[in-house]
């Protein structure tokens, strides 16, 4: 059975190894902050960190994820600079896509602590927001990036 290491905790998952890790996280482990939006990796609502990188949880199987460290929105911390910046800009509207947006932004800043606007737009263009919060997302990422050295880690 593939075991998953999610937010620092090991979970043994009794399921088909071909199951996308999204469904193990949501339906079996019960962490529902990671959302389903399309199942084909086209919307970003299920973005998590796998080995520190942003991936679409709907496109990674249990077999592929086994043994690697998974971080979901619940494991990002209560007070991550990206979350604080999101609050400062009142980013979410309906909020559904925002866990994915935040995970994507946190991964971007980890890799690129001081991104240019075009880096931000490029990194975030895989994450759909049907409330059109893109302008606020870009502004919030700028704020998070400016929160000080190492702030986004």
């Amino acid at each position: 059975m593939p075991a998953l290491l999610i937010n620092g905790k090991e979970h043994s998952i009794d399921a088909d190894p071909n199951m996308p890790v999204l469904w193990a996280i949501r339906d079996i482990v019960g962490l529902t902050g990671t959302k389903y939006g399309c199942g084909i990796g086209a919307c970003g609502a299920c973005t998590i960190h796998l080995g520190g990188k942003a991936v679409r949880a709907c496109r990674v199987t249990l077999a592929e994820a086994g043994g690697q460290e998974i971080t979901t929105i619940e494991g990002l911390g209560e007070n991550h600079p990206v979350q604080r910046a999101w609050e400062a800009h009142n980013v979410p509207a309906c909020g559904f896509c925002q866990p994915g947006q935040i995970m994507q932004a946190a991964a971007l800043l980890k890799q690129h602590p001081d991104p240019e606007d075009q880096d931000i737009v490029q990194a975030m263009s895989g994450n759909l927001c049907r409330c059109g919060t893109y302008q606020r997302i870009v502004a919030a990422i700028r704020t998070a990036a400016g929160a000080g050295p190492g702030a986004a880690r």
């Binding site: 902050g33 919307c43 009142n90 975030m124 759909l128 049907r130 919060t133 997302i137």
Partner: protein, 779 residues
């Protein structure tokens, strides 16, 4: 009228789950079943269904409208907190279940502020007045000397203070003030209304803690996924579930019967897989072998249907507005323009697909679902399953968008049917494919406009023919013309002062489930009307904004009833919400001032304007577009002006307008699904595109300061975007887009680059353009 009565303590506790203190009961005009009973109770101050003050001083506000990103929970709390003089950190928000006692809960059509602004103020003012009276009684002081400030009542002459919590019990024993004699707070005392207040649900949303429909988790839950017929009206003929049941985690396979046609709010029918997790359920579906009776709609094809609508639109239709003599004026016109516009079916494509949890225990059903209409869902489910409505509870979760999709109850009825039939707890999740293929689509339409001008370029003739299948066909087997509430969204309420005009509607038979989307039917009607007035301006050789300003010929109010037009005005009184052309002119002037209208642009850049009233609000937008030589579009800047009357929560109005721009751009650039052999062709976000971060323009949102009654904000920013974009494209390239979504391959540079758009220049004869900065503040 609004009736205020005290709830009995037992009722109050039942309704509000409160412990002790004051509970008031307001029965709204539409709440027929819930006249709260009078009777004094000690404890919680509960002057109505909408708020309680307990003895600890905690104020609990009940919000009965659904939260789907518009910020209604925060906005309602701002109103009530100010009217109560409550302190924001001591206010809790509680989401109401679906129940007629709350009045209208159908969170649809941009109506929440219009319907509830005043009732909520009255509800909170009643409680404040009771708290003040209780303090005066305690001090044996005059009420006039006591004032509620920041969660306390102060005796002004002496400075003595009693907190709301200390007063709740005594206040609960006092009579409820007559609503007609209530004194509402002076706006100068407002601390929240009109200010930037972070949304109450923000902390949960950024930490993944907010619960949407599919996030509800209870022990013993089974996961369901349903294979439905790809064609509307089709039925299961037979199915083989052997392979499906072998999928690990699949527990049951069960056929859901097809509902009578047209299916309305009821399930389409199909084959459901019940499994231990969502993935097993969808994998099981892939292994089903179903033979369908596809039914008559299998012939539905968007291309052929469009041709049918075009043939209809070229013939006279039923006249729905007529003034002067169009035929004579048009034939005598020196300049004539004729154009046809096409808009395909629009799915709602809410970010959260439909989902619902249904729990059936001891003959009672509990539904937790992202519904825009919990009362409607309760009614639909109880009728569908033959349960008493008192045995059905519908509890709204947060909604990952609504846009009108979640005002339909098919998905909730599906989950409810499975829970009752299987006797358990069901979580039903729609896939994205289910969502795009089994939606309630905003209607496909073809529109034809004929405009005539005299030799000076003054518009003298206008004919607008619309052909689209009626929204009512989703519910009624008769296949009649659309009704006035549908063509009253952008057709019959045409605001231009053109002396000879005629609006006509033609018949289109339905083949799919229809339901209004965001922007309502103004989405397509404003696209045609706001594009066509721009085409007329171009034909007359005039600046489009000046031409539009002249066409408005305001300020004036249009009395459609006086000219024999059946005009429902979005269900609002025409006296309170007139069709005010002055406000259209005002937003136009405002957006011209702010957007730099007339300033020079680069080659293959253009500026487009559109102005439209919908959902009782007035929106104007100027879009700047750059069209690359290969036809690719980029949008450097958008200025949007909204006049939606009094604004309670400016940050959310601003957010809704930013959203409207993005939504409108997505609609114009990529929106729409097509049918082939009766089935949707774009089944997921690979083939159905939405606007992304990379198309996002620099947006400047301007809210008109206003003391007018509050009107819509969720919808009215959307309809102006597509026509303004197409008008900008025409200005940049000389090419007119009349078919959506925009085919950018038509915009390739195949001629020498045009000169930059000319500056607006001096105003034409009799066009009083007010210079920037001279706009009188309305607030």
């Amino acid at each position: 009228m609004i009736h205020v009565a005290k709830l009995s303590r037992r009722e109050a506790l039942k309704v509000l789950g409160a412990s002790t203190g004051l509970v008031l009961g307001v029965a709204w005009p539409s709440a027929d079943a819930a006249e709260p009973s009078a009777g004094a109770d000690a404890g919680v101050l509960a002057p109505n269904l909408y708020l309680t003050v307990d003895t600890a001083g905690t104020v609990t506000l009940t919000v009965a409208r659904s939260e789907m990103g518009q910020g209604i929970r925060t906005t309602f709390a701002m109103i009530m907190a100010d009217e109560l003089a409550a302190s924001w950190p001591r206010v809790l928000i509680r989401q109401a279940d679906g129940d007629p006692k709350y009045g209208d809960q159908d969170t649809d059509g941009s109506r929440s502020m219009r319907l509830f602004d005043k009732p909520l103020r009255i509800a909170a003012a009643s409680a404040r007045q009771m708290l003040v009276a209780a303090a005066a009684q305690a001090w044996r002081a005059s009420i006039a000397d006591c004032r509620a400030v920041d969660h306390e009542v102060i005796h002004m002459p002496t400075g003595r203070v009693l907190g709301f919590g200390q007063l709740a019990k005594a206040a609960s024993a006092l009579p409820i003030p007559n609503p007609d004699k209530l004194r509402l707070q002076d706006r100068s005392s407002w601390r929240y209304v009109g200010h930037m207040i972070p949304s109450v649900d923000l902390p949960g949303m950024v930490r993944g803690k907010t619960l949407y429909g599919a996030d509800v988790t209870v022990p013993g839950l089974k996961f369901a996924s349903i294979e439905r017929c790809p064609v509307y009206g089709g039925k299961v003929k037979s199915f083989d579930s052997n392979a499906a049941t072998e999928v690990r985690g699949v527990e049951r396979v069960i056929e859901i019967p097809a509902s009578p046609f047209p299916t309305g709010h009821l399930p389409l029918g199909g084959v459901a897989i019940i499994a231990s997790n969502s993935w097993a359920a969808t994998e099981g579906r892939r292994k089903l072998r179903i033979e369908w009776d596809l039914g008559p709609n299998v012939t539905h094809d968007s291309g052929a249907y469009k041709a049918e609508l075009e043939a209809t639109v070229r013939r006279p239709g039923r006249i729905i507005r007529s003034q002067g003599n169009f035929d004579a004026a048009f034939s005598g016109s020196a300049i004539k323009v004729t154009s046809e516009y096409y808009v395909p079916y629009q799915p709602h494509a809410t970010m959260e697909p439909p989902s619902a949890v249904a729990i059936f225990e001891d003959g009672k059903l509990l539904i937790l679902a992202p519904t825009q209409s919990p009362q409607g869902a309760r009614l639909a489910v109880s009728q569908y399953l033959g349960l008493k409505d008192t045995d059905v509870t519908v509890r709204p979760t947060f909604l990952g968008n609504g846009f009108g999709r979640k005002a339909f109850h098919d998905f909730i009825c599906e989950a409810a049917w499975l829970a009752k039939t299987l006797g358990g707890k069901i979580k039903l999740v729609w896939t994205r494919e289910d969502d795009l293929c089994h939606g309630y689509y905003n209607p496909i339409s073809v529109q034809r406009l004929d405009g005539g001008m005299d030799k000076n370029g003054a518009a003298i003739a206008w004919r607008h023919r619309v052909v689209f299948p009626s929204l009512n066909t989703t519910f009624k087997p008769d296949q009649s013309l659309p009704d006035a509430s549908q063509y009253g969204q952008g057709v019959t309420d045409m605001p231009y002062a053109i002396p000879n005009l005629r609006c006509e509607v033609g018949l289109a038979l339905p083949h799919v489930r229809l339901g209004a989307g965001r922007g309502g039917l103004s989405l397509e009607h404003a696209f045609a009307v706001c594009s066509f007035i721009d085409e007329m301006a171009a034909a007359a050789g005039k600046d489009p904004a000046n031409f539009l300003y002249t066409a408005f010929a305001g300020p004036r109010k249009i009395d459609l009833k006086a000219i024999g037009v059946d005009y429902p005005n979005y269900g609002a009184s025409i006296d309170d919400y007139p069709l005010d052309v002055g406000r259209l002119q005002n937003v136009l002037q405002f957006v011209m001032d702010r957007s730099g209208w007339g300033e020079p642009l680069l080659p293959r850049q253009g500026r487009g304007v559109a102005v439209h009233r919908s959902f009782l609000s007035y929106a104007a937008v100027v879009i700047v577009v750059t069209v690359a030589a290969d036809g690719t579009i980029s949008i450097p800047r958008v200025d949007l002006v909204i006049d939606c009357g009094q604004v309670v929560n400016p940050d959310r109005v601003r957010a809704l307008m930013e959203d409207s721009v993005i939504y409108g751009l997505g609609f114009a650039l990529y929106g729409g699904v097509t049918f082939r052999n009766g089935a949707v062709e774009q089944t997921n976000f690979d083939t159905y595109q939405l606007a992304r971060a990379d198309i996002t323009p620099e947006m400047h949102i301007h809210i008109v300061p206003s003391l007018q009654p509050a009107s819509g904000a969720g919808d009215p920013g959307v309809p102006v975007i597509a026509p303004a974009l197409c008008n900008a494209i025409a200005a940049a390239t000389g090419k007119r887009i009349r078919t959506l979504p925009i085919d950018t391959s038509l915009l390739k540079d195949d001629r020498p680059a045009p000169a930059p758009q000319p500056a607006a220049g001096p105003a034409g004869p009799g066009i009083p353009l007010t210079p920037a900065g001279s706009l009188p503040p309305k607030g």
